[in-house]
């Protein structure tokens, strides 16, 4: 490395500008593609949750637009999607939002039209540790929730007791085994699921 007459601050300034311009260009150039990827991932997830397979990307977008009725809350955020199959309700999908160990977790929960049974759930976005917390999006884990009935038979909509617990300690039909090595992630996941199920039960009490 030689000594030059150009002041170091000027060199650093020039490198900062060049790097910044390159990254700004890339960000703008890829923005549309990235946004499309995010949207497609969400669409794919909704289609999967209602049990439809074998559609192309364009067909999936059309399917969601035609068959899923979006319901928004007062702030304009999607509160739930109602899946209409041959003019009857096939499933109701609720967006989930919670906190993991490293960042937010987003997902979707599908429940039966009677709002009493979990049909399935998917994680759309998370920042958890690959191989550990990140396994919350794995099929083997999410399958544990399918078919779980979260309303007692006497229809009282008693306080929720569906919980994700420490791996290997689940007891009874309303406890689900967590993932070993991912305690904090599972704690956040459990809170997120609980919050969403509360919302489902509120809708259930409010009636159709």
């Amino acid at each position: 490395m030689r000594e030059t007459r150009v002041p170091p601050a000027v060199i650093v300034g020039a490198v900062v500008l060049a790097c910044g311009a390159l990254l700004l260009g890339a960000q703008l150039g890829f923005a549309e593609r990235v946004a499309r990827n995010v949207r497609l991932a969400q669409v794919r997830l909704l289609v999967e949750l209602v049990g439809v397979t074998g559609l192309s990307d364009a067909e999936m977008e059309r399917f969601v637009a035609d068959n899923l009725r979006e319901e928004k809350d007062d702030d304009g955020r999607v509160r739930r999607w109602v899946y209409l199959r041959e003019s009857t309700v096939g499933a109701v999908l609720y967006p989930m939002e919670g906190r993991g160990l490293w960042g937010p977790i987003h997902g979707v929960l599908a429940v039966s039209p009677e709002l009493d049974t979990v049909l399935g759930l998917r994680i759309s976005r998370h920042e958890e540790t690959p191989g550990l917390g990140a396994e919350i999006e794995a099929a083997w884990f999410l399958r544990r929730f399918e078919g779980l009935r979260f309303v007692s038979d006497d229809e009282t909509c008693s306080p929720l007791e569906l919980h994700v617990v420490k791996a290997g300690t689940a007891q009874g039909p309303l406890q689900v085994d967590g993932i070993s090595g991912a305690t904090e992630t599972i704690r956040g996941f459990d809170a997120m699921l609980g919050k969403t199920l509360h919302e489902v039960l509120r809708d259930r009490r409010a009636g159709p």
């Binding site: 170091p8 490198v15 900062v16 390159l22 890339a26 990827n37 920042e127 690959p130 550990l132 090595g181």
Partner: protein, 197 residues
């Protein structure tokens, strides 16, 4: 062996960044649960190390010694973010699987280490080769660890089942401590092999 070939091969084997310098261990432990993750992570480190080598070497005549670290970090961060963006744009699923680890390449000591130790003192072409070699040296170690961890820890290889149905995978290998033991054994084994006359 020609000089250029030696520049490329030395960091792959004789001075492997993981085995010889024990650098880049954090990500090596974290992303080796799947072979596919290890491959993409290796590609990311190889590309960014090569690009960093080229640009740090190019800037060598004009950068004052007092600001060299700032410039090196700027160059490294730029290429890592660029790779991360491209992954998000062209391979979104993989980008989601690797999570924060692509971005964390910025803190991978292999890149800064090679920029300091090699690119600052050598012309552009050898610096490119050194970056490629270091990246490839990192990649093959990651692949070896990932093959062990995915096949024995999860029972699959690149997503295909390799353990017979019913055989319980060794879950401990899938957890970070498992990776630590495996890496330790590999470093031990390799040093033992190399010490032989």
């Amino acid at each position: 062996m020609s000089r250029h070939l030696a520049t490329l091969v030395t960091p792959i084997w004789k001075e492997n960044p993981i085995f010889f310098h024990v650098l880049g261990i954090c990500s090596a432990l974290a992303v080796t649960t799947r072979v596919s993750n290890a491959l993409v992570m290796g590609a990311a480190v190889t590309c960014t190390a090569a690009a960093t080598g080229v640009f740090v070497s190019l800037l060598r005549p004009v950068v004052h010694r007092s600001v060299r670290l700032v410039v090196e970090m700027l160059v490294i961060a730029t290429f890592v973010i660029l790779f991360d963006l491209m992954l998000k744009a062209f391979w979104y699923d993989m980008s989601r699987q690797l999570g924060p680890y692509v971005g964390l390449i910025v803190t991978n000591c292999i890149l800064l280490g090679r920029a300091e130790a090699f690119a600052l003192k050598n012309p552009v072409f050898p610096s490119l080769l050194d970056g490629l070699g270091s990246g490839l040296g990192y990649t093959w170690v990651l692949l070896v660890v990932a093959v062990f961890r995915e096949s024995l820890g999860a029972g699959t290889l690149l997503g295909f089942r390799v353990l017979p149905e019913g055989a319980a995978p060794a879950q401990a290998l899938f957890l970070p401590p498992g990776a630590f033991f495996l890496m330790g054994l590999l470093v031990w084994g390799l040093h033992a092999v190399r010490r032989r006359p």
